[in-house]
């Protein structure tokens, strides 16, 4: 029995059966981290003592029979933009180098209630701005499938930790593909639920209208179980939605009979790597053989999603990141002359290049004289994109395509040209604009052995269809 290779569902069952304990499990994973993390740099913070103490507590509850369920006693890694009371939370930024939250994010509390054992905080692109985890102030994370390559981002540390066995499962956040794309690059399962399904209270905001928390797991079963635990209606998050259909594990059935799947031609066109395309179409064939109805169609406006997204996300980010000002927490410049100079120096020294780039863009598109032309225009295009999806979902249950145009690039290849990097988000970004759920599951690898991800997108609140299709594919693909 190798604990670090187990899924959450397998491990919690083993603990319940007395084959191992929560303490043994956390120690095994911590040992793995000790061994491997120098190579991959998945974590910003590892909370060894806290994790062991929590495991002991959870073990006692499991033995007393007060704690059951598929996450009880299972070690988890959290993206470093989720607030954890008493545990350093940096957003991989220098500006929060010493920030210790005084409260815990609602989504994390939900996991803790389910018996999760928190290992620590994973590396990410600074403030979730990036697609490679190279914009972290604490060094890049490397892809465990091939350390020459990036793990993707911004939840790269979380995806890599799952792939490297440095946790059993991990939590990420997805603003424009930040869970799905690293899941794809690292060969794990990642899901972004419908906007409003998981409370954002305690998630340090990047683009508030786009951000959602979701799981990164080893398989679809864990994905459903973790999402079920994460979801809740939170009265402290005004955008949280009360749903009575979050029993996602009930959708773990092998059945796609009659499921209508549409593949947008726009997702298979120019820029898509041939090997990725082939793998995705093969995956569609697997589902077709299992009874799904698969066809190609034209999803309009795909090319407009990226400019609309970067306008909206940058605008919201420019405002969300104003609170980092060197007063209440985090970094303050050592030398300054007066208030405004203190602001400027602290922020300029505390934020990295990509974050500053987006703050500048966001401030500009909201500034006097440009608001209508840029920001308002983007909100209108967002409405059109939503409408295009509504029309597509009138015909199909699921939209299927690649997660990213290529497999993971090498370290250092992406940051030189920001726009080129943004173009890599083309298949994931519209999902956030429209608030839809999307899942990324492994569907093979390229000639270099790098994983390829299959993306399935559902209409809002249709996570169960995605889980059912993903589970069916997973069973057939094995």
């Amino acid at each position: 029995m190798n604990i670090t290779d187990m899924t959450a569902v397998q491990l919690s069952a083993a603990i319940k059966e007395g084959k191992t304990t929560a303490v043994e499990a956390v120690e095994a994973v911590l040992a793995r981290i000790e061994e491997e993390d120098k190579k991959y740099n998945c974590y910003v913070t590892v909370d060894r003592e806290g994790a062991v103490a929590q495991a002991k507590k959870v073990q006692a509850q499991i033995e007393a029979g007060t704690l059951q369920g598929p996450l009880a006693g299972v070690p988890v890694a959290l993206k470093d933009n989720l607030c954890t009371e008493g545990l350093l939370t940096t957003c991989s930024s220098k500006i929060l180098y010493n920030f210790v939250p005084t409260y815990t994010a609602e989504a994390v509390k939900n996991l803790t209630r389910a018996g999760a054992v928190i290992l620590g905080k994973t590396n990410m692109d600074e403030f979730a701005m990036g697609s490679t985890t190279e914009t972290s102030a604490y060094g890049p994370t490397r892809n465990p499938r091939n350390p020459e390559h990036v793990p993707g981002g911004s939840s790269g540390g979380s995806a890599a930790a799952v792939a490297a066995g440095e946790c059993i499962y991990a939590i990420g956040s997805d603003t424009g593909g930040s869970i799905r794309q690293p899941a794809s690059y690292c060969g794990v399962v990642g899901m972004k639920p419908t906007y409003g399904t998981v409370s954002r209270y305690g998630l340090i905001a990047y683009g508030s209208s786009l951000d959602q928390i979701g799981p990164l797991t080893k398989d679809v079963t864990d994905c459903a179980a973790v999402l079920e635990a994460l979801s809740s209606h939170d009265e402290r998050d005004s955008t949280s939605i009360a749903r009575d259909d979050t029993d996602f594990t009930s959708a773990l059935t092998e059945d796609v009979e009659g499921l209508r799947i549409g593949i947008p031609n726009d997702y298979l066109g120019e820029g898509l790597d041939a090997e990725v395309k082939e793998a995705v179409l093969r995956a569609a064939e697997v589902l077709e053989k299992k009874g799904a109805l698969v066809e190609r169609f034209d999803l309009s406006l795909v090319d407009y999603a990226i400019p609309a997204y970067y306008t909206i996300a940058a605008a919201e980010a420019s405002s969300n990141l104003e609170r980092f000002d060197g007063i209440k927490y985090g970094y303050r410049a050592k030398e300054y002359a007066g208030l405004h100079n203190m602001y400027k120096k602290s922020r300029s020294e505390g934020f990295g290049e990509e974050v500053k780039r987006r703050i500048m863009l966001g401030s500009f598109v909201l500034s006097s004289g440009y608001y209508d032309a840029y920001y308002l225009k983007a909100l209108k295009v967002k409405a059109l994109i939503k409408k295009a999806f509504d029309e597509a979902f009138a015909k199909y249950d699921i939209i299927l395509g690649p997660v990213a145009p290529t497999t993971a690039p090498k370290l250092g290849e992406s940051l030189t040209d920001p726009i080129q990097m943004y173009l890599g988000d083309i298949y994931t970004i519209a999902v956030n604009l429209a608030g839809l759920p999307g899942i990324s599951i492994p569907c093979g690898q390229d000639g270099k052995g790098l994983p390829i991800g299959l993306q399935m997108i559902g209409d809002c609140f249709q996570e169960k269809k995605l889980i059912r299709a993903a589970y069916t594919y997973e069973q057939g693909a094995v």
């Binding site: 920030f99 939250p101 994010a105 420019s318 104003e322 609170r323 927490y329 909201l366």
Partner: protein, 478 residues
């Protein structure tokens, strides 16, 4: 001055709402707490925190809008106003720009010539207050207290319809009364629960176009407002007369020096980059919601005046004064409801109450004595249990400490002595001790009886009914 000028004034009035909690979190709004003890992650801009709207704030804002003849916006939103300042913990203020809750209203004011005019209300919006900045007396720094941060405000923006300081004061008085009657705020200028910024321009009499306006802040009394208006009018006219032009800017009024100065700096671009707050869903005001708020609207001053005249028959002058302060009107009605005669209640309010308020420099909203105790005091005098000078003494204590007058009179032995034998004995002693006065009285000097009454009252330590003493003296001397 060769030319005639007209002053054009518009007001931005901020009113602090009388809610128990802040606009977006469950922190208390109570005054006077130690710095930062009424704060939480939401009102201090902690990363990851999210706002949830206090329902009472919306209801008060709508109630004020209805009472000032505004259109209520059926689909309203909150926007973020972005600017950096240490009292603003998120460095954006949640306010309303694009879809404020109320628009297109107006109130009628009385003008100097005895006529009336309508001052238009452009809009009313909801927003959060900032924290408090305190100067450190010993070091070159400022200190921030966030207890006020997030206290709910409405901002009432008038049209530029006022032409003099008198009209401005009349408009403010009108707003204050309406809002006090609604119970939406106590509207105290001195304590900052009502604040007015003055937008002022001048133009040659008869000109069609408005001149360039300035905005004046830091006006915390009606006197300061009047002086600031006069000062700014003169400053602008002087500029125009000298062939210079008025610069559109924000100025801070220094009431001590009697002058204003510009608040502009290079770092203060006044470009607030408003955009819809993605954390707060829109507000849809339904017919039911409106009907409920309408049903709760109180009787306003005009209706009260009419009713007081018909129902209580007290003089018009009394009605003006009593209905001019909501706490006085409330006290009046509650005391009358306990069975006291309206004119007697009115006399206590118009006489001793106003006198003591003036002497102690307190507001009607600070009145401490209860209607029950006032009713008891009136009953004591009605029963001639105490005489009027004792009643005034008791009232003064009641005004300070809201004591129960019955118990107090009992305890202090202030009751009028109604024992005829005892009184007769004292009068006999007074007659014996003052033969000259007795002589004078018998010789037709009516004044002398007053002296004898006074001597008797003195000997009785005030605990006699002067009327009864007078009568008994006359009987005994006849």
């Amino acid at each position: 001055m060769s030319r005639e000028y007209e002053t054009v004034i518009g007001l931005e009035v901020h009113v602090e709402l009388a809610t128990k909690t802040k606009i977006f979190c469950g922190c208390s709004t109570a005054f006077g707490a130690a710095p930062n003890t009424q704060t939480c992650p939401v009102c201090t801009g902690m990363p990851g925190s999210l706002p949830v709207l206090n329902r009472q704030v919306l209801e008060y804002a709508i109630a004020v809008g209805l009472a000032t003849n505004c259109d209520i916006t059926r689909y309203a939103k909150f926007d973020r106003k972005n600017y950096f300042y240490p009292d603003n913990p998120q460095n954006y203020q949640i306010s309303q720009l694009y879809l404020p809750i109320c628009r297109n209203g107006g109130v009628e004011i009385e003008t100097a010539d005895g006529g009336t005019k309508t001052v238009g209300i452009h809009e009313i919006h909801m927003e959060e207050d900032a924290g408090k900045l305190i100067h450190d007396e010993w070091e070159d720094c400022s200190l921030v207290d966030y207890n006020r941060s997030g206290v709910p405000l409405i901002e009432i923006v008038s049209e530029p319809d006022m032409r003099s300081a008198e009209e401005v004061i009349a408009y403010l008085e009108k707003l204050r009364l309406v809002i006090q009657y609604l119970g939406a705020s106590d509207c105290k200028l001195q304590e900052g629960s009502m604040r007015a910024d003055v937008n002022l321009s001048v133009r040659e009499t008869g000109a069609k176009e408005f001149g360039t306006r300035t905005e004046m802040k830091n006006l915390n009394s009606f006197k300061a407002i009047t002086r600031a208006i006069e000062g700014e009018r003169e400053r602008q006219i002087d500029l125009l007369e000298a062939g210079e032009s008025v610069v559109q800017e924000t100025r801070r009024w220094d009431d001590g020096k009697g002058e204003s100065y510009a608040m502009r700096s290079k770092e203060d671009a006044q470009d607030y980059r408003y955009f819809p707050d993605p954390d707060l869903p829109p507000i849809r005001v339904s017919e039911e919601m409106l009907a409920q708020i309408r049903a709760k609207q109180p009787e306003f001053r005009g209706e009260k005046r009419k009713r007081y005249k018909e129902e209580f028959g007290i003089p018009d002058y009394d009605i003006e004064i009593i209905t001019g302060e909501k706490p006085l009107a409330d006290l009046f009605e509650a005391t009358v409801a306990l069975g006291s005669q309206p004119k007697k209640v009115s006399n206590w309010l118009m006489g001793e109450t106003l006198r003591l308020m003036k002497e102690r420099e307190t507001d009607a909203s600070d009145l401490r004595f209860s209607p029950e105790n006032l009713a008891k005091l009136i009953a004591l005098t009605d029963q001639k249990a105490i005489n009027s000078s004792v009643a005034k003494e008791v009232f003064e204590v009641m005004f300070e400490e809201n004591i129960d007058p019955e118990a107090y009179v009992e305890e202090k032995g202030l009751k009028t002595v109604n024992d005829e034998g005892a009184l007769k004995k004292v009068i006999e002693e007074v007659i014996a001790a003052n033969p000259q006065s007795v002589e004078d009285y018998r010789n037709g000097k009516e004044k002398a009886i007053g002296f004898l009454v006074g001597q008797t009252m003195k000997a009785m330590k005030g605990k006699a009914d002067p009327g009864a003493v007078n009568q008994m003296l006359r009987e005994m001397l006849s």
